[in-house]
């Protein structure tokens, strides 16, 4: 496919879904939201099929319902802008260009669940956005105040730990503690920030809330598939002909995706960042991007045949070894062992059969780790070692 053909196809795909980056009147969306009953908003969000866009894909409506029915002295809405997954950079653009939608989504969420305070937990490395975001928060706070809405939103800065994107670690960090995930239950919707009911939603999720209120649940549902409704903002990187941030419908196959973005020599796509799944070329046609196939928080990394999958995996493991919070055994020690293990196999210090021990270890990490970080390391490890075993060993 020629570059111009690709661009045409891309434009066509984007026409089907253009919600996040299209400017709209957020004041009107807020007014519309506030004219509805809180319960109806939650029903609408539930009905839209919106699932968390940070990667875990928890149904947003169910989360909100939990917070709405929880009792507490005060409730909080936190926008998780700790976008730390390797290969994702879409929240950065959303916050830069469409923070009105995010703040509107937060205000609607707050109204729906009965929260009075909101925070945008901004990734430490995105500090350059902080002043701009805070001044927009201040502007909105004045609007909330003038309209008698009991809600305010402010920016909190993270300090650079990947694990703080995990919602309970994020909350610990906000409370001034070490960024370590909590034991669950209790979940944040019942006892979160300051031990009060708290909704933690991804930037993109909250922006989509605004568009769902604007256009209705049916419109949102009409995009994507029955299991993966709506659009998704992708961060495309790697060996690509086109790269960047694109909003596309969920439910595409990897093949369709690679046809647009690939350089014609794509051998593997890492879907969902370092903690996601690696899909090899032979599975491109049969793998759907979405909750029924490979879910993603947005990161799509394309690798062509010049790349060594050993080094890709090693890079991921070096990342995890350092970014594990270090609290639980499977993740703290497991990440070190996976990294040291493939190095030892490569160096001939361990037999190739040791890779099977490591794959079992990864499987144990996926069921025994305390939080999603340790649980998801098996995704890249086991998919890459399954499909590229020879590249790991030799």
């Amino acid at each position: 496919m020629s570059v111009s053909d690709k661009n045409k196809l891309l434009e066509k795909m984007q026409e089907r879904v253009n919600l996040i980056f299209k400017d709209t009147d957020c004041g009107a969306i807020l007014a519309k939201g506030l004219s509805m009953k809180p319960d109806d908003i939650i029903n609408m969000v539930t009905d839209s099929g919106l699932r968390g866009r940070g990667g875990a894909g928890f149904p947003t409506g169910i989360k909100w319902r939990g917070a709405a029915s929880a009792s507490g002295n005060k409730k909080y809405v936190i926008c998780n802008a700790d976008e730390g997954e390797p290969g994702t950079f879409k929240d950065r653009r959303i916050l830069d260009e469409q923070s009105d939608k995010v703040i509107t989504g937060m205000a609607i969420c707050a109204y729906a669940v009965g929260a009075s305070e909101g925070y945008i937990y901004l990734r430490g490395e995105y500090n350059f956005l902080k002043d701009k975001l805070q001044s927009n928060c201040d502007r909105w706070n004045k609007i909330f105040n003038s309209k008698g809405i009991n809600f305010s939103v402010n920016v909190r800065s993270g300090s650079g730990a990947y694990v703080c994107g995990e919602e309970t670690a994020l909350i610990e960090s906000m409370e001034g503690n070490r960024g370590e995930p909590r034991n669950k239950p209790p979940f944040p919707v019942g006892a979160g920030y300051m031990n009060e009911p708290t909704v933690v939603n991804n930037v993109e999720t909250l922006a989509y809330v605004a568009t769902i209120i604007e256009k209705g649940a049916d419109y949102f549902k009409s995009i994507g598939t029955k299991d993966s409704m709506g659009g998704k903002v992708f961060s495309v990187s790697g060996d690509c002909s086109v790269k960047g941030v694109y909003e596309l419908p969920l439910g595409m196959t990897i093949e369709e995706f690679v046809n647009i973005f690939g350089d014609g020599d794509t051998k593997a796509v890492q879907v969902g960042g370092a903690s996601g799944v690696c899909v090899p070329r032979k599975n491109f046609a049969t793998t759907v991007i979405g909750f029924e196939g490979v879910p993603t928080g947005g990161s799509m990394m394309l690798f062509n045949s010049s790349r060594s999958m050993y080094h890709v995996l090693k890079n991921f493991l070096e990342f995890f070894e350092e970014e594990s919070c270090g609290q639980c055994t499977p993740c703290r020690v497991g990440c070190q062992q996976l990294l040291k293990g493939i190095e030892a196999i490569r160096a001939g210090e361990k037999p190739m059969s040791y890779l099977d021990e490591l794959r079992k270890l990864a499987a144990t990490m996926s069921v025994a780790s305390k939080c999603g970080l340790g649980q998801s390391v098996a995704s890249p490890f086991n998919s890459i070692t399954e499909h590229f075993r020879e590249e790991i060993c030799y």
Partner: protein, 593 residues
Amino acid sequence: MEKVTLTINDKKVTVDKGTTILNAAKQVGVRIPTLCHHEDLCIAGNCRVCVVEQKGTRALVASCAVPAAEGMQIYTNTKKVREARKTIIELLLSEHAGECTSCYRSGNCELQALAQEYLADGDKFIDVADRSPIDISSPAIVKDDSKCIRCLRCVRTCAELQGVSALWSVNKGNHTKVSTFMNKPMHYVVCTNCGQCINRCPTGALTERNYIEDVWAAIDDPQVHVVVQTAPAVRVGLGEALGMEPGAIVTGKMVAALKALGFNSVLDTDFTADLTIIEEGTELLLRLKEALVEKKNVALPMMTSCSPGWIKFIEHQYPELLDNLSTCKSPQQMFGALAKTYYAKKKGIDPARMISVSIMPCTAKKFEAARPEMNSSGFRDVDYVLTTRELAHMIRQAGIDFRSLPEEKYDSIMGESTGAAVIFGTTGGVMEAALRTAYEIVTGREVPFKNLNIEPVRGMEGIKSAKIKIENVKDEWKFLEGAELSVAVAHGLANADKLMKEIKSGKANFHFIEIMACPGGCIGGGGQPIPTSPEIRKKRADAIYVADSSLPLRKSHDNPEIKLIYEEFLHEPLGHHSHELLHTHYTPRRSRA
């Protein structure tokens, strides 16, 4: 209480709402292995060896951290569970320097026991142990990071039970470790040397600095006269360290064992505990007189000074309250000073050729003995401090069959004591002993409590308080007529911290306060047998009171050797000799070292 019903391995069990799966399993006789879990501490849920399978859930759940819920179906012994546990243990072994043949904790190591139970392969994974130099800066506590499995029991102990937070979890990922403020050596931080972390460490990462070889060397030296003293709480702990039940009272066997080990004089710290009561009781009455009669500005409440962990704590955290501390040395240091003066003179021993050893339930005593001011005899007053555990080691090394050892009596002099001294070993004991004597000095009558048992200051509540009305006093104490003596007792430094805050804020008004650094007092000391739990400490404390009530003399001032030492050596409480040998001063320290 709301109840929930769940099944554990298909067995139905009904428990109070909020009960963890771990505890629910106990009720149906299922033991789930744990490492980071400890009864004294908050839930961590980080080691993950307690994982179990919950039907309908993909991931395993940590049974120590998850409360039982209605209808839950839990399986504790599936293939998935066994494999996960074994792998987790093998991961822990890979970050743990497995020197099991030479480790100080070998045989009493929770990781070793679990590894054995699951037949874990210690060499399956690559060795990733942190081989930082072993921290031997402290005279009391040795920290070996290569043995640490990051269960954070020590961190939680230091923060929750002791309110000190000398140890904390630092860094992240593969660099996560337990360390101190700015990674300083243990001797240069706010550590109180209480050793509570040691008592809860599942491995040999935190141990006492042991002086076993030094003591053997002294015993082996024919030129040296080795005097040993034994603290009150050791007699209810030593048996446990040698395989007997918690709470076994082994005073006579311990004396026999010490003699068998070759100590030249086997004496009792309880003697100087009685002496402490006379000195400290007099000091209290004097302070009250100065305050009430002479209207002097004296520091009240007066606080006890027996517990060296507490002393270091107050020196760091509340240096402005140091005047409130009794100037009395601890019984250990009083003993050391007298051993090389009074005892040496009476027995015709050259103090220069005397080595004074103490057996303590405590690790902070090692630091205390090393304090520069503790040399009022002209020599170091106490040369070596051994914990209950170290003594147990020596007894095992010597091949002594402890259980069948016939009981023996302490040598004389400085071997006689009363029940009042024995109860120094548990929280509230010093207060009770002081009240038994002080009340009688002032009124000429025994304390108005049945069998001399002052119940309000007994028990394991964190902070206890009592009021005692003083009536019909002797003439010389007229100024105390009708006064109500208000006392408080705290154990565990977190409770001490709470009490100090109340005192500083003026919320609490007391005349006399007893503080013990360790939960339960010395029976729960950092040198006592491992493991510890509320139940074990209760048994040891009960044993202390049994030992007290079974003694013929139960008031310090009735101790004939105490009467003798005042007659022939000290002459009067707070007198010239006392000041030289039995009293001390304190050092303000920075709150963040």
